[in-house]
């Protein structure tokens, strides 16, 4: 499909489509390079972002005694890191918990992205009765506090015989109101109705339209949603701590066991924290470029 010029699009299909086309033609770079002040601000921001994590690493390389004596550790790690890591592995089933966390996080993110995009597409681009109130209802559901639901949810899980299984964690998280809200909001502005209508005119079914038009358009936001959901699932603590026992624990629950002895061995606990962050940092390295590319690419690829 060759692209007519932006003004031509405006003539034919209205301003919305013109804006979308303009985004397509958006040229990166060319604007003036930012000054040193920008980089300074960013450096400060990043130092603030990273320091607590580095501080954790410093603590995990130390011993409880030293931590008590020196609240601000020196910037050079003390070298007990691998000792503490070994003790973490001795105390809890780290690999088992990590595997559980991976399974839960992967399934949850993929599912949330699929179902949220599906629902977002409907709310954003399709007109149906009750659309407005239903969307408001979706948003309102996020106002329901989790603590509220714990006992009834536990009852549901018990009746399904899902106590202490991973399904109990996965199933409640298969699609989230946040995800639906997020994709709706994104597709609202990123998917020009003209494209959808064009597909309809061509005789495509609703699902075909979704699959071929909406999904690709949603890719940047979907990637972001997937990443956010993955991290949220990875770090989720409250509900898993109630419904899982240590045999099927996810990583945060397993790590809380590091505090289980009579005294708090801070170095050990911090080593556990560092270990739990590493897989996510690896994920960042892999998916980071994808994500940023997605954000930069804008809406529809030609």
């Amino acid at each position: 499909m060759s692209a007519p010029s932006v003004p031509a699009i405006e003539q034919m299909a209205g301003r919305g489509a013109a804006r979308a086309a303009a985004r397509k033609h958006h040229v990166e770079g060319g604007s003036r390079r930012p000054r040193w002040l920008t980089y300074l601000v960013l450096t400060i921001v990043l130092v603030i972002s990273f320091y607590p994590l580095y501080y954790t690493f410093l603590l995990s390389s130390s011993t409880s005694q030293n931590i008590a004596r020196h609240p601000i550790p020196s910037l050079i790690p003390e070298g007990h890191f691998f000792d503490n890591v070994r003790r973490v592995f001795d105390t809890i089933d780290f690999w088992g918990a990590t595997w559980n966390s991976i399974v839960v996080a992967v399934i949850t993110s993929v599912s949330v992205v699929m179902f949220s995009t599906l629902a977002g597409f409907s709310f954003a681009k399709l007109r149906f009765k009750g659309r407005g109130p239903l969307l408001v209802f979706v948003i309102a559901t996020t106002a329901v506090p989790t603590q509220l639901g714990v006992v009834p949810l536990f009852l549901v899980m018990k009746n399904l015989h899902w106590i202490d299984t991973l399904q109990a964690i996965i199933v409640p998280g298969l699609v989230t109101a946040f995800g639906v809200f997020w994709m709706t909001q994104y597709l609202e502005s990123a998917l020009p109705y003209e494209l959808v209508e064009a597909a309809r005119v061509d005789g495509a079914s609703m699902f075909r339209t979704f699959w071929s038009i909406a999904l690709p358009a949603a890719r940047p936001a979907a990637t972001m949603l997937g990443l956010f959901t993955f991290v949220a699932s990875w770090t989720n603590f409250f509900w898993p701590s109630i419904v899982l026992r240590s045999s099927h624990a996810t990583l945060p629950v397993a790590l809380s066991l590091l505090q289980a002895t009579y005294f708090k061995d801070l170095a050990l606990i911090m080593a556990g924290v560092v270990l739990s962050v590493v897989p996510l940092l690896v994920l960042f390295l892999i998916a980071g470029r994808q994500l940023v590319a997605g954000i930069m690419a804008g809406a529809v690829k030609g």
Binding site: V110, W211, F263
Partner: protein
């Protein structure tokens, strides 16, 4: 570009689908899948037992040993991080009628609510209640005489003290001599005043960590601190309540001046064990498990010792039980394990290795137990000291269904006055009254 996008979506959906299936198929392991065997002993039948403990019961090696002795039994260690977490888990289980563990451990402080729901638990009388002193079994027996808990450890109290600070204050440092100084609470506080006025006190050392800590010891010496034993009515707010008398004494200015103002279990308290003089404290009410906390928090501190005394007479702080939910899949096998774990022989082993003091009478007089000395505490004969203290415990305070929340609220009342300093004694007690009134 489009094609790869669609393909990658398809792949992702496929992966998720397969993973979901895999999870569904793989879960459900962990129990043997055999029909309920609550009746038979099934000595050769494969059984998996899940047991939930908290903090450190010292059972790791015992599990290995038991599994060697009984090859058909697999023990799964389901530790919870704290007593509160374990309590929440057991409560959820009772509230929803679900059994997730074959054996659960419970702290004495929340035993009353479990005894109140003794239907949920199996009868452990077959183990033989005379293994323990009556004050211990009393905490795990319901009105009908059913024993639901097997006692694990106990907490007979002695006084741990810092030799170097005593010396700096011109006080004797020998164990027996220290014991002479602290026989009654009046003696304790009088010595405390001497300490505060001495060079050590002036250098910033305190006499004890917090009045909340002392309260634990003193409450455990009262027969009915919070509730009426016959009616279970809450009496702590009555004018003549013994708990109020304790409160008034502890929140007096003289006593507060001897406090280090550090709430027990808080981060600053943990850290402060490493202090030399300033911010340190000279005495600590010590049940055996406290000795592990001290040595863990300050491994380099060489000056702690244990005095064979408890102001006001014997006191027991803490102690736990093992219970077996009645609707578990392997009640008999679980009871057998509980029987073995709480056997005097095993309890003695745990003490020698981990420091949790036994509650089985025979174990407390066992030769290995009595002979134990503690290198951290200046080679004090900790086994003998605690054994003697244990023998002196005659009773435990009455614990009704509201004991735990009341004790918790009382602790907060002390913290407000001593540690956070948000209230004076009177206003803090008023808030305590509101808390207690809210319980009914």
């Amino acid at each position: 570009m489009r094609k790869t996008t669609r393909k990658s979506w398809a792949v992702a959906a496929g992966v998720a689908g397969i993973a979901l299936l895999a999870t569904a198929c793989s879960s459900g392991d962990g129990d043997s899948g055999t029909s309920p065997t609550s009746g038979s002993t099934g000595s050769t039948e494969k059984v998996t037992l899940k047991i939930q403990t908290f903090n450190e019961f010292g059972y790791k090696d015992l599990y290995t040993e038991y599994m060697k002795l009984h090859p058909n039994v697999t023990i799964v260690d389901d530790k919870a991080d704290k007593s509160d977490t374990a309590r929440a888990n057991v409560q959820t289980a009772i509230a929803t009628g679900t059994v997730t563990e074959d054996i659960v451990a419970a702290d004495v402080d929340w035993m009353p609510e479990l005894v109140d729901h003794s239907d949920f638990f199996a009868d452990l009388s077959s183990i033989g209640g005379d293994r323990w002193p009556s004050w211990k079994t009393g905490q795990a027996t319901d009105d009908a005489g059913k024993l639901i808990g097997a006692g694990t450890d106990s907490g007979p109290e002695a006084v741990c003290y810092r030799k170097d600070l005593f010396e700096k204050a011109g006080l004797p440092t020998d164990r027996e001599a220290v014991a002479q100084l602290l026989g009654t609470w009046d003696d304790y506080f009088a010595t405390g005043k001497k300490f505060i006025d001495s060079a050590a006190g002036k250098a910033g050392a305190a006499w004890f960590d917090s009045i909340g800590a002392l309260s634990q010891g003193m409450i455990n010496q009262l027969k009915a601190p919070f509730e009426d034993p016959s009616t279970q009515k809450i009496t702590v707010l009555d004018a003549d309540s013994p708990a109020k008398a304790v409160y008034d004494q502890l929140t007096s200015a003289d006593v507060l001046a001897q406090s280090a103002h550090l709430g027990q279990w808080s981060d600053p308290w943990n850290k402060a064990f490493t202090n030399d003089v300033k911010g340190a404290w000279a005495t600590q009410l010590c049940p055996p498990w406290m000795t592990q906390i001290i040595s863990g928090a300050a491994p380099d501190q060489k000056n702690w010792d244990i005095a064979p005394v408890m102001p006001g007479g014997a006191s027991n702080w803490g102690g736990s039980f093992l219970l077996v939910p009645k609707d578990g899949k392997h009640v008999q096998a679980a009871t057998d394990l509980v029987n073995w774990l709480t056997d005097p022989a095993q309890q003695a082993k745990v003490f020698v290795q981990y420091g949790n003091f036994p509650s089985a009478v025979k174990a407390t007089t066992d030769a290995t137990v009595v002979a134990k000395t503690d290198t951290y505490f200046g080679n004090a004969p900790s086994g003998k000291i605690f054994s003697d203290r244990f023998a002196q415990v005659a009773f435990q305070p009455f614990r009704g269904p509201n004991y735990f929340p009341i004790n918790d609220a009382l602790g907060k009342a002390y913290t407000r006055v001593d540690v956070d300093k948000t209230d004076d004694a009177a206003s803090s007690w008023k808030k305590f009254e509101t808390d207690v009134n809210n319980l009914s």
